[in-house]
């Protein structure tokens, strides 16, 4: 299904079936990662470019690792806000990518919709690795993958998302994906960080963190970045920690086997208390490992129609879905 798509720009665009097919493919790659030599030749001969117009460590590493585990060639471009007009550089970037014959582009950009611009202007497949405050689809997928691994299925789960919903691309991608798969999602955070008409996503808005956590199967805690927001949005980290910080005490309102998530990097003692971050409910490091498998799945499925020559297995996504991937993965011995 996703094999017929050129790009992955957001989870809003995907059907439940497409999301499930990515998760199933990721399951196969997750097993590959546990092998002694965790590498497959699926993307041999293809080149992926990682374009990070905004600082990132773990997402960039995760994508690069995923590409290398799939035997793709990788090139990296990183800038932290250059003096040249951002619009011009994006257009030039697109032209350069075209000239260099790159097959897959992973882009992170501070402007919502920047990956859509590249997708419109390029034959290469484009993967959104976070655009402004819009979407971060692979983070959403890896969160959902992690939840599914832990709790078996998504339908019927109660998921609480806590923090700055307005500026969170992680929140948007999680909400779209979870709701499509039948979860019920509650959000909580400062009223100044709750976007207008947020209920129209299909979520409930809780008046407090306690209310959101009540009876939750999953609590996903967003990183608070007051230093990046306008100072008018909230008073201080101290106040934030007091009112919205998820503590062990607050977590007792959730289901006894609650799953605690955080997209990282954490501000320990602010949005997440130390004992919660390192507690038995936390799956924060599993999220990181699963992130590589999920990104491998996305790269693999999008590359389905990108084969440059016979050295790449004729393994479009449809076959993967049927056979659960195994015949096409050729683990190296």
């Amino acid at each position: 299904m996703i094999g017929t798509r050129k790009d992955l720009l957001g989870l809003e665009d995907l059907s439940a079936d497409e999301i499930v097919s990515i998760l199933d493919t990721a399951r196969t790659f997750r097993e590959v990662l546990d092998r002694p030599i965790p590498k497959v030749p699926s993307l041999r001969g293809l080149t992926a470019a990682n374009l990070f117009f905004e600082a990132s460590t773990r997402t960039r590493l995760s994508f690069e690792l995923a590409e290398k585990r799939l035997s793709a060639d990788t090139v990296n471009f990183q800038t932290s806000g250059s003096s040249v007009s951002k619009g011009e550089s994006l257009k030039d970037t697109a032209r350069n990518i075209e000239a260099m014959g790159i097959h897959l582009v992973v882009i992170r950009h501070q402007s919502s919709g920047a990956p859509h611009y590249l997708a419109r202007n390029l034959d290469a497949g484009v993967i959104n690795a976070g655009d402004g405050t819009h979407e971060h689809p692979t983070q959403g997928l890896l969160d959902i993958f992690t939840i599914r691994e832990r709790r078996g299925s998504i339908a019927g789960l109660r998921v609480a998302i806590i923090g700055d919903i307005m500026h969170s691309r992680v929140a948007r991608s999680n909400i779209w994906g979870l709701i499509k798969l039948g979860a019920s999602v509650t959000v909580a955070g400062p009223p100044t960080m709750m976007p207008l008409e947020v209920e129209r996503f299909g979520v409930s808005v809780a008046r407090s963190v306690d209310e959101a956590i009540e009876g939750a199967d999953v609590v996903n805690i967003l990183r608070i970045q007051l230093e990046r927001q306008r100072s008018t949005l909230y008073s201080s980290l101290r106040e934030y920690a007091r009112v919205y910080g998820v503590t062990g005490e607050r977590l007792r309102r959730a289901k006894p086997d609650v799953t605690v998530m955080h997209p990282g990097p954490m501000n320990r003692g602010v949005e997440i208390a130390q004992d919660v971050a390192d507690g038995k409910h936390s799956v924060i490091l599993e999220q990181v490992t699963n992130g590589v498998a999920v990104r491998m799945a996305v790269l693999y499925l999008l590359a389905g129609h990108k084969a440059p020559d016979e050295s790449v297995p004729e393994t479009p996504a449809t076959e993967t879905q049927k056979a659960h991937g195994e015949p096409s993965l050729h683990p190296r011995r």
Partner: protein
């Protein structure tokens, strides 16, 4: 008198009707009306000639059926002293495609701090003052500008926007901005400034003209202000009547303008306000930009779209075809009304008036092709739209400034 209207039909003097040297223009089915007037354009000259020049901008005006435009002072440098006002008037006269009335800056450099020499600028030919592109943020300066312009009989045209509420927003704040993760501009960013200015106009007796009204809440305030006898007039632009914030879906920078496209409810309120006269006149906010600037991600692109060559068709589509206005009612809002806001005469076809005439076929449909624009700006969200109201001929002081290729003419 040369270049003047001799008379209409049988009322024209016999010697004119029998003049064998005269060219006869046949346009069956067409409307002949006073030349259209646009109270709000950006001609970009001096200083931003890569976007538009007075020559290309007025050629675009003629192609869109306009014979008179008032141009905003946010050039580089801004129109804040006499030589620059005189420069615009001279360049417009040299180009000869339309009458250009410059609008002078309210504050020096449009920096919002110190008043310009308003009386000198008005004597030089400015028809209004405005810091358009930016609001006059300081209420004290707005008050003093209203006192000074009242004595001169010109309006202060306000780009109504609270800069703090706008912040770094790029589109209307609502469900679409929430969904797209775009920074929103609440409608209150406009309306709080309209409310403030209504109170300052009441305090001073001065005349505030509200530029490009986009929000329903602003309409409510303007309507109440008028009912209280406050001198407040208003304009809007075509895009607010035919598009909503949902058009931003897809992140196309050609849907980015300030104020932003708002909700369907705002659009409906604007149409009511045009019908009942709360919004006095119809403008374009013609804002050309280069292709390089607009061909980018949404946040990086500048605000603004071109409007001169699509306005008439869009207004007929939005207002006349759905029967909100009759054609004569529309033409009034595109001719006499904007001139009266500026305190200028004309806008009619009476004998003796300059022969500023527009001929268009309200039923004839045409397709918008930005590549065919006379404007250097191609930044339109209406590419490929089929519009009614094709302009056949535009005449300025008896001289043809635009003639559609298909128009038949013959010598007598």
């Amino acid at each position: 008198m040369d270049g003047a209207i001799a008379g209409l039909g049988e009322d024209a003097p016999a010697d004119v009707r029998s003049n064998r040297a005269a060219e006869v223009i046949q346009a069956p089915g067409s409307v002949i009306c006073p030349g259209l007037v646009d109270i709000h354009v950006h001609l970009r000259e001096p200083g931003q000639e890569e976007k538009e020049t007075i020559e290309s901008g007025t050629r675009a005006a003629a192609r869109g059926g306009f014979t008179t435009v008032a141009c905003m002072p946010n050039t580089a440098p801004p129109l804040d002293d006499r030589p620059r006002i005189e420069y615009v008037i001279r360049r417009a006269r040299e180009s000869g495609h339309a009458r250009v009335h410059p609008i002078a800056a309210v504050t020096r450099g449009q920096m919002g701090e110190a008043l310009t020499e308003i009386e000198d600028l008005v004597q030089a030919g400015a028809v209004a003052v405005s810091d358009d592109g930016k609001p006059v943020r300081n209420a004290e300066i707005m008050r003093r500008a209203l006192q000074l312009t009242r004595a001169l009989g010109v309006p202060v045209i306000q780009h109504a926007e609270d800069p703090d509420l706008k912040g770094d927003g790029v589109m209307h704040e609502g469900w679409t901005s929430t969904r797209l993760g775009m920074k929103g501009i609440p409608d209150a960013a406009e309306s709080v400034m309209v409310a403030r200015d209504a109170l300052l106009a009441e305090l001073t007796g001065g005349h505030v003209h509200v530029a490009h009204v986009s929000a329903g809440r602003s309409v409510d305030i303007i309507r109440k202000a008028k009912a209280r006898g406050i001198r407040m007039t208003a304009e809007t632009a075509p895009h607010y009547l035919v598009l909503t914030d949902e058009a931003v879906e897809g992140f196309d920078p050609r849907t980015k303008m300030n104020p932003p496209l708002r909700s369907a409810k705002d659009r409906d309120t604007l149409i009511e306000a045009i019908v009942d006269g709360t919004i006095d006149c119809l403008a374009t906010d013609h804002a050309p930009h280069t292709e390089i600037e607009k061909d980018s991600d949404f946040d990086s692109a500048p605000f603004g779209i071109v409007g001169l060559e699509t306005a008439l068709g869009l207004y007929i589509k939005a207002l006349v075809e759905p029967k909100h206005l009759s054609l004569p009612e529309l033409i009034l809002r595109l001719t006499v009304n904007p001139l009266r806001v500026l305190g200028l005469p004309g806008g009619t076809l009476e004998a003796g008036q300059p022969a500023d005439v527009t001929v268009f076929d309200p039923a004839r449909r045409w397709t918008v092709r930005a590549a065919e624009f006379a404007s250097m700006g191609r930044n339109t969200p209406f590419e490929g739209w089929e519009l009614p109201g094709r302009v056949a001929l535009t005449m300025l002081g008896g001289r043809v400034t635009y003639r559609a290729a298909a128009l038949e003419t013959s010598a007598r």
